[in-house]
């Protein structure tokens, strides 16, 4: 059981990192949303598995929130938004796909090196989980940096949150307060983002953040 527990959580967490890479190079809006939904789905599987092996029933709540909000509701809402705004064409990226992927690999190597050496004394399961979680967080940051589009940045931000939830559920016995609050904050964050996207649409004809950048800096 011990080795099975390790293998399955390793598989799921590794799958999340792989999906993060897919988010990184995806250049079509709908595909991006689909992969994000899959990301959230794999995350909820991983949480369920943690609930089983840690014998922590409260984690099922976290898994359900993750599944319902992040794998179903939010991608659907974003899809409608994309349709309404008619922005389903390709997404502009700041850096090319090749260099982005290389950077991503570098970040994953960095986080493995950092976490595995820092947590030498801990349980191997927690070590692996934390190393993967940090990789997902860093890949999400990279995605936010390389996307010009507001929807792309939002997805990047939510994949960071997924990484954090993975870390929080991997750490044994972390109090429930935190998990629920994390889920809540994602919800709130989404509402905020949603409002912003609609407001931006009211004022401009684009959600391309670069269009907003014209106003950056000092007003003359």
């Amino acid at each position: 059981m011990a080795s099975l527990a390790f293998d399955v959580s390793h598989l799921l967490a590794g799958g999340l990192v792989l999906l993060s890479f897919m988010l990184l190079y995806q250049d079509r809006m709908y595909a991006l949303l689909n992969i994000f939904a899959l990301h959230a789905f794999v995350l909820s599987l991983s949480i369920v598995w943690q609930a089983v092996i840690q014998d922590a029933p409260h984690l099922y709540v976290t898994a359900a929130i993750s599944l319902l909000f992040k794998a179903v509701a939010i991608p659907m809402a974003l899809r409608r938004l994309v349709q309404r705004l008619n922005i389903h064409r390709t997404i502009e990226t700041v850096v090319g796909i090749g260099p982005t992927m290389l950077l991503g690999m570098g970040l994953v190597a960095l986080s493995m090196q950092l976490m595995l050496s820092a947590t030498a004394a801990s349980d191997p399961l927690i070590r692996e989980d934390m190393a993967f979680a940090l990789s997902i967080v860093l890949l999400g940051l990279l995605m936010m940096v390389t996307r010009r589009n507001a929807v792309g940045q939002v997805i990047g931000f939510m994949s960071i949150e997924n990484g954090l939830v993975l870390a929080a559920t991997g750490a044994r016995g972390m109090p429930l307060v935190v998990e629920i609050s994390v889920a809540f904050s994602i919800l709130i964050a989404f509402i905020v983002i949603g409002i912003f996207l609609f407001r931006i649409r009211e004022r401009f004809d684009t959600v391309d953040v670069q269009a907003l950048d014209r106003f950056r800096g000092e007003r003359q």
Partner: protein
């Protein structure tokens, strides 16, 4: 049914929350702004009650010598800002920049922000503190975007993106702290409580704790506005309503700083962990020098003072990085004085931009001639923030420079250099604001000057005379900080 005894901790949290609910439902700005002031005043009184009868630490909330300084300061500035806001907002309604619906939203958000800040300061659970800081971030994002102009939306979006990245890094650090504590303290809530963590920190795994601190410092450092991560701060200050600029500079930056200080204490309690000092000193000095130079190139008055906030947060982080009783004392004093002075300056700036109808520095001149009271108050405020005697900031900067000379001579040179560069920029701009030929709007200001007098009065009195009890208390906290 018996009446539950008066509990200041509950009051400090429940009053803003209740007021937010009422204000969200109330139409009519006159009554709403009065309720806003009354709620802020009651919260301040409840915070003062904490000084008298300090409750025993509970599972979720606790009060100790460190956070009580922050709570009293933030409820006080929250109260005076609500007074300023009442006058300011009435005018925004007249000119149509805000509609009554947005005004309702604004007042409710103001109280939720107060609640979130008090929650972050009083929380005993590191996860709860994180949630509160996130809530404070979200409310300020909405407030910054409340005018819904191009610039305001861009500022809010930028603030939101950078703020959430910071908050995400801080959460990762928080989880790492839990992982560090869990083998020693055991699973569950205990491994996230300050009171327990501080007692048992000596047994924690030092490597993991170091890593956690780096994440926490970068995460909460984004909210403090330290330089590589500061990009959101000038925009958010310039585009939001002026009372929010005052609250951001005076309070929210302090709350993030408080989080960093707590985790620094945790590291200090563990003998094997790295000293966080060099990291804090480096980023503090970089912020100071960078912001001091950036002051010369500003064209917008609110942006100008926002960069001055970055500069001062740099000084404060540097002071706590140097460490030792004297530098910590200087840091605490500087933090208090900066909060009071900077919010007073934003009150004055609020009056000025309202009269002149612009934020452009070139269009604000000759204030001492057209509006003597405002002009001289601005001179007093800028003199205080520049660290000229007899302001309280002069005292704290003097203490910091002398203690740095004692410990790190070379760094003291950089510190003095940064302070002088900033002084030059402030004096140069002040000459333009205060003297010369007045242009633009000439109508007198109808708003109350009371909050400005109150703040600047404290700052200048503190430069000359500080009550013994106040000094003893700051000294005690400075020792606690290590």
């Amino acid at each position: 049914m018996s009446v539950p005894p008066f509990d200041p901790v509950t009051a400090v949290l429940a009053i803003p929350l209740g007021a937010a609910a009422i204000l969200a439902l109330l139409p009519g700005y006159r009554l709403a702004s009065r309720i806003n002031v009354a709620a802020a005043a009651l919260t301040f009184l409840a915070a003062l009650a904490l000084l008298e009868a300090r409750p025993t630490p509970g599972r979720f909330f606790f009060v100790d010598d460190l956070n009580i300084v922050f709570v009293v300061l933030s409820t006080f500035v929250g109260f005076t800002t609500s007074m300023f806001s009442a006058g300011y907002i009435a005018h925004e309604l007249d000119t149509g920049r805000l509609t009554p619906v947005y005004l309702r939203f604004y007042h409710a958000m103001y109280q939720i922000l107060m609640f979130a800040m008090n929650l972050a300061l009083l929380a005993n659970v590191i996860g709860l503190m994180w949630v509160a800081v996130e809530l404070a971030t979200l409310t300020t994002v909405l407030m910054v975007g409340v005018y819904r102009t191009h610039e305001a939306l861009e500022a809010a979006w930028k603030y939101f993106i950078l703020g959430s990245v910071g908050i995400a890094l801080a959460l990762f650090g928080t989880i790492l702290v839990y992982m560090t504590a869990q083998p020693v303290v055991g699973q569950g809530l205990d491994a996230m409580m300050w009171t327990v963590l501080m007692r048992q920190a000596a047994g924690f795994d030092a490597t993991l704790l170091n890593l956690a601190f780096v994440f926490l410092f970068l995460g909460y450092g984004t909210k403090v506005g330290l330089v590589p991560l500061h990009a959101w701060l000038p925009d958010a200050h310039a585009e939001g309503p002026t009372p929010i600029s005052a609250v951001l500079s005076g309070l929210l930056l302090n709350v993030a700083l408080y989080a960093i200080l707590r985790f620094k204490m945790l590291l200090a309690a563990n003998a094997e962990a790295i000293a966080p000092g060099p990291l804090m000193m480096t980023l503090g000095l970089v912020s100071l020098v960078f912001a001091a130079f950036m002051l010369y190139r500003r064209r917008d008055i609110k942006r100008f003072f926002a960069y001055s906030s970055i500069e001062h947060m740099g000084i404060i982080v540097f002071a706590f990085g140097v460490g030792g009783p004297l530098a910590n004392f200087a840091g605490l004093l500087h933090m208090t004085m900066h909060s009071l002075t900077k919010s007073a300056i934003f009150f004055v700036v609020g009056h000025i931009t309202r009269i002149k109808g612009t934020q452009k520095i070139t269009e604000i001149t000759g204030l001492t001639e057209s509006h003597p009271m405002l002009g001289w108050l601005l001179i007093a405020g800028v003199a205080a923030i520049a660290g000229l005697p007899p302001s309280g900031i002069f005292v704290s900067e003097f203490l910091l420079v002398s203690s740095t000379f004692y410990q790190q001579k070379l760094l003291a040179l950089v510190l003095v250099f940064g302070l002088l560069v900033a002084l030059g920029a402030l004096v140069m701009r002040l000459a333009g604001f205060a003297f010369g030929k007045p242009v633009g709007g000439m109508e007198p200001s109808r708003m109350s000057y009371a909050p400005i007098f109150l703040h600047l009065g404290f700052v200048f009195v503190a430069g000359i005379y500080q009550p013994a009890a106040f000094v003893a208390w700051l000294r005690h906290v400075a020792v606690l900080l290590g």
